[in-house]
């Protein structure tokens, strides 16, 4: 009744509707222009990262003195879901994950409050705190600073003090991370002999530096009617200023800093380096996008700001980008929009073939742009961004979008062509009748399809973040298409459809003849149809067991990142040399690689604190057209071959976003991650080695990897308390002195214009270059005298851990592997079994499987609950519509036959059953039910008119042949472009398209043949069969 009113209103107020459409088109276009665009939906959880730096502290000390106290404080934060930490050399990285939907600013507030309570008890010199508000997807733009004949130090300084501040103020930029180069510092290198001679202690020296480096104001002076401001100048400006600072007076002779220490421009201890193209070092800037920022706008803003900056940079200096998120975004959007246009063209063509009338085809096809625009409007309203997933949802929905409009237009055409009233009724009334006739079935049908997508909205975690936008877009699009089909489409048809030919188009006439023959055969010998169908069903159950299962097809981001790892004890310089050699080899042997930028070690902020032995190598690839090899897999094989020539280098392949997402999700990269929890580092190391061996033996394991945690060489200084005490040295004093000599101790800042250059006290270079010199190091006593380190401590060599990783307060080690050519779940099952057999776990140790497969299991569990609920809702809707349990069941019986085709299609194409494929099955479910509804509702109509059942099914099926064929083939054709699409995102949509197309084939043929048989047999109970 409400539907009739709506249709009446629309047809009567045609101008108003046209006007509303105009508004819709404008607003929708506006929304489309303003939608934030990114490649992927924001998959990050609410995550707060704490990064604390204490230069020089060893991993276990960092764990004891920083990580543990903070963890204890952070455990039990409200809404906390995970607490992870990594303690490394000089750095603690603590990650607090919050429950989904927690406000990031609230979460940061909680963490900051607890942190402030404990900051005071951390070791002196601890710096850092909360990391920028960015996400793992935040790395939007990466560039190097080159040219101009500038030294590394000058380039770094340019990046730090000119480029970084400029970019930080671009809207949407959270921070600019800086990697590589040398950080300039003023170095004071105490000459121990002279200090001893003048009796000056280290403390006295640092105090002198500290209190002799300030400008200040003193107030106002009056001079006649004028005022003078008093400024005291005492700041250190250069090395000469520094040298002139007096530390003490010895017998009337001032002892200046220059007298007791060497002064020079040096660099702060480097945490990492960036190498390029096998040629040498460079400096890298990395723009981090704010959480929720519009990637394309951020990159545009950054590029515009860089263009402004260009003129102010020293001559010849170039900023060369090597990663630009906008490229990926554009490619992804291009993939989807190409599929969309192709689908629209195909749909139009099909409509033309089926309706035999251009105007009719047009009126149905107009639903596409209109529904799309309305979808954009809804997306904007609900704050969805346009990305691969949401636009993909739209591409998937295209076929289904047209369905409602097709049914409406087809029925209008039918009514106008066969007007039995011979002009006695107005055309508008005929249209109204035609629309009213199908209004209920299409509304129920669309509602059902919407219902089947509802379960997706309950997905959690990564799969939820990825597929909720898909489901929402589809739901929006379908709802829009239903509304438009009942209002705009009748109005447009009224304007567009003038005279309609009496005759059906050629194709349809032939199909009709064929169908009649088949249907008669089927109705005559139902067993001949039903039994093969049952067999097919059984075969599908078998095929299902043969189809591999995985979480998510890998998305191709178009950039390759190689993670390299060497011996943990390697020095930065040695690793750089090695990296440069690898880069030269890659450039020489793999011509597809255009440029290589590799970052070794940690970044300035500490967001990704890799060790000096770890390198992320970014490959900038040539455009596809110029590739020698067929595809990316072949390219990676070529790269693997090059890398295998370097013994002792472990490597893994990943992509920029994939790498960060995997790290964020379980703190590790890799398809499968086996975590071993337990208290003792050495035992963990041994167990992880065993697990690694087991995993390597399992078929399908590729790039099995466990970060080597042993092998860092320690020079342990064991302090002799008695000896130290005798010299009046405390343990603290010795440790502080050692840190100052080796690592250096910051004693202030030298202001050079806006550039703040650290001033540090540090031992001489040769001290750090040789352990032998280190052992001869002399400690300055409080009275200025010096003694050898060996007098108060003895030195020994030891091996130690690279890092200490913890999860929820417990130490763990992780072994990761990629899985190729095999489904994840099967692999994990086998791995679990083998590890249980071959790796006995001591008391207090436990295993945990994580990685991508974790998500799959969670998704499967969730869907196992929600899909049946959705089926129940569908059943209820059907019952409400038909008021008959039998008929509702009858329609539901279509579903298995739809799934059959989907499973076979997966099996034949060798695709895996992944989350997108499951989405395909869900869509299939809806389409199958829709077909049944269209069919059965017409059967009922005929039955109510008093036809005998045998005639009901024969006539009804014939009359409904066209709409059923049309909706099915249009949905299938709408997906065909996705089958052949290439480019980022295509690999996610392909399995879905395969499933739906395969399922449509079986579902449609079976709807057309089996449903009439079943209806004849089961639609009415014995007492109900009035007209047999």
């Amino acid at each position: 009744m409400m539907l009739s009113r709506l249709i009446q209103f629309a047809l009567a107020q045609r101008l108003l509707i046209l006007l509303a459409l105009l508004v819709l088109v404008t607003a929708g276009w506006q929304a489309f222009q303003n939608l934030p665009i990114d490649a992927y939906p924001d998959v990050s959880t609410t995550q707060v990262k704490l990064i604390l730096k204490v230069p020089g502290l060893t991993p276990e000390e960092v764990e004891n003195r920083i990580t543990q106290p903070i963890e204890t404080e952070m455990l039990g934060l409200p809404r906390q879901s995970m607490l992870r930490s990594v303690s490394k050399y000089g750095l603690a990285d603590i990650t607090v994950d919050f429950a989904e939907g927690t406000d990031i600013y609230w979460a940061r507030q909680q963490v900051a409050e607890r942190l402030s309570g404990i900051l005071g008890s951390l070791p002196a010199g601890t710096t850092g705190g909360l990391a920028p508000i960015t996400t793992p997807l935040g790395e939007m733009f990466m560039f190097t600073v080159e040219g101009g004949g500038l030294s590394l130090m000058e380039r770094r300084s340019l990046l730090d003090w000119v480029i970084r501040p400029a970019l930080r103020s671009v809207p949407g930029v959270a921070d600019v991370n800086v990697l590589g180069g040398e950080l300039k510092s003023f170095e004071v290198v105490p000459d121990l002999t002279r200090m001893a001679a003048t009796g000056i202690s280290m403390d006295a020296l640092t105090t002198a530096l500290d209190i002799n480096n300030r400008n200040d104001g003193a107030g106002r002076l009056e001079e006649g009617g004028e005022v003078l401001l008093v400024r005291a100048e005492g700041r250190i400006r250069d090395l000469a200023d520094l040298a002139a600072i007096v530390v003490a007076n010895r017998e009337g002779v001032p002892v200046r800093v220059g007298d007791i220490a060497g002064l020079r421009i040096g660099s702060i201890t480097r945490l990492g380096a960036v190498t390029e193209n096998g040629r040498g070092e460079t400096v890298e800037g990395l723009v981090l996008g704010l959480r929720g920022a519009n990637a394309r706008q951020v990159v545009q803003g950054v590029e515009a700001r860089l263009a402004e900056l260009r003129s102010t940079l020293p001559k010849g200096v170039q900023i060369r980008a090597f990663y630009n998120r906008a490229d990926l975004v554009n490619k992804a959007v291009h993939t989807v929009s190409k599929a969309l246009t192709e689908a629209v063209a195909l749909v139009l063509l099909l409509l033309l073939v089926f309706l035999g009338n251009l105007r009719a085809a047009l009126s149905a096809a107009l639903i596409l742009p209109l529904a799309a625009l309305m979808t954009f409007l809804l997306m904007q309203y609900f704050g969805l961004s346009a990305n691969l997933m949401s636009l993909g949802g739209l591409a998937i929905a295209i076929g289904m979008l047209v369905d409602a409009a097709v049914v409406v237009v087809e029925n209008i055409v039918q009514h106008l062509a066969h007007d039995p009233y011979a002009g006695r009724l107005p055309r508008l009334h005929l249209i109204y009748r035609a629309v009213r006739e199908v209004a209920t079935p299409i509304s129920v049908g669309v509602l059902i399809i919407i219902t089947v997508f509802l379960p997706l909205l309950t997905l959690q975690g990564l799969e939820g973040k990825l597929f909720i936008p898909v489901a929402l877009t589809i739901i929006f699009a379908l709802a829009a298409s239903l509304l438009l089909s009942l209002t705009a489409i009748p109005v447009l048809s009224a304007y567009l459809l003038k005279k309609v030919k009496q005759e059906d188009p050629w194709l349809l006439r032939h199909v009709d003849v064929l169908y009649q023959r088949l249907l008669n055969g089927a109705l005559g010998r139902p067993a001949w149809v039903v039994f093969p169908a049952m067999l097919l069903l059984l075969a599908a159950v078998f095929a299902y067991t043969q189809v591999g299962k995985t979480f998510m097809p890998q998305m191709d981001e178009g950039t390759v990142v190689i993670g390299l790892e060497t011996l943990p004890s390697i020095s930065l310089a040695a690793n750089e040399t090695l990296n440069l050699r690898i880069q030269r080899a890659i450039l020489a042997q793999v011509p597809e690689v255009e440029r290589i930028v590799a970052r070794t070690g940690a970044d300035e902020i500490g967001l990704d604190p890799m060790g000096l032995n770890e390198t992320d190598t970014f490959l900038v690839l040539q455009p596809r057209e110029r590739w020698r090899v067929r595809d990316k897999a072949a390219l990676i094989d070529a790269l693997r071959k090059v890398l295998e020539e370097f013994p002792g280098v472990q490597f893994s392949f990943t992509q920029p976003i994939e790498m960060r997402v995997a790290e964020m999700l379980s703190g590790v990269r890799g398809d499968v991650a086996v975590k071993i929890f337990g208290p003792d580092l050495a035992t963990l190391e041994r167990l992880s080695g065993q697990v690694e061996t087991v995993l390597q033996g399992i078929p399908g394991a590729k790039d099995v990897y466990t970060a080597r945690n042993e092998g860092v060489q320690y020079e342990e200084v064991v302090i002799d308390r008695l000896a130290a005490g005798r010299f009046g040295l405390s343990v603290d004093a010795i440790e502080d002195a050692l840190r100052a000599y080796v690592q250096g101790r910051v004693a202030g800042v030298v202001m050079e214009g806006v550039r703040r250059t650290p001033l540090q006290v540090r031992g001489p270079e040769d001290l750090r270059a040789s352990p032998a010199d280190f052992s001869r190091l002399r400690l300055v006593l409080p009275d200025g005298q010096a003694i050898a380190l060996a007098a108060v401590a003895h030195l020994r060599r030891a091996d130690g851990p690279v890092k200490v990783e913890r999860e929820m307060g417990s130490r763990y080690r992780v072994v990761m592997t990629q899985v190729k050519g095999r489904d994840l779940v099967g692999f994990v099952d086998e791995a679990k079994q083998r590890i249980a057999q071959q790796v006995p776990l001591p008391t207090g140790y436990r295993l945990n499987f994580g990685g991508q497969f974790e998500n799959q299991q969670r998704a499967a569990k969730r869907l196992a609950v929600v899909v049946p609920v959705a089926l129940g809702i569908i059943f209820f809707l059907l019952y409400l519509t038909f008021r008959s349990l039998r008929q509702a069941l009858l329609i539901m019986s279509n579903i298995p036959f739809a799934l059959v085709g989907g499973i076979f299609a997966l099996w034949l194409t060798g695709e895996y059953l992944s989350v997108p494929a499951s989405v395909g099955f869900i869509a299939l479910l809806g389409i199958a039910v829709l077909n049944g509804v269209v069919m059965v509702s017409y059967f009922n109509q005929l039955h109510a008119q008093g036809l005998v059942l045998a005639e009901v099914v024969r006539q009804g099926a014939r009359r409904r042949l066209r709409p059923v064929l049309m909706t099915a083939s249009i949905t299938a054709f709408g997906l065909i472009p996705l089958l052949f699409a290439s480019g980022p995102g295509a690999e996610i949509q392909r399995p879905l398209a395969i499933v739906v197309i395969g399922g449509l084939l079986t579902a449609t043929s079976l709807t057309l043949l089996i449903l009439p048989i079943l209806y004849r047999r089961f639609a009415f109970g014995k007492g109900e069969k009035r007209h047999v």
Partner: protein, 101 residues
């Protein structure tokens, strides 16, 4: 006693309702009359407005008036003069009896 009564039935487009009713009110010999909104079928398609085209029937006001004597023709003449071409339909029936109780 044998006064003659007729029943005049008019089908009017809704827009004319009031004016026609006024005319009837002011005509002598019209005793009582009723008006009802209803649908008319078979009305020429060109006379239907958008809403009516959609519904496939015309909205009309039906007026039934009890007339005494020969006012019928007089009213029709007036209506013809006033609403020529407006799509009014009418019929007149002779009534065996009418009155008030």
């Amino acid at each position: 006693m044998s006064e003659e009564f007729c029943l005049l039935t008019l089908l009017l487009p809704e827009s004319l309702g009031e004016e026609v009713l006024d005319i009837l009110l002011l005509t002598e010999g019209v005793q009582q009359f009723t008006s009802t909104a209803l649908f008319a079928h078979g009305v020429g398609l060109d006379r239907l407005d958008a809403q009516e085209q959609v519904l496939g029937r015309a909205r009309r006001v039906q007026v039934q008036a009890l007339l005494s004597g020969a006012v019928g023709q007089e009213i029709l003449a007036r209506l013809r003069a006033r609403f020529a071409g407006a799509g009014l339909h009418y019929w007149i029936q002779a009534l065996p009896a009418a009155g008030a109780i």
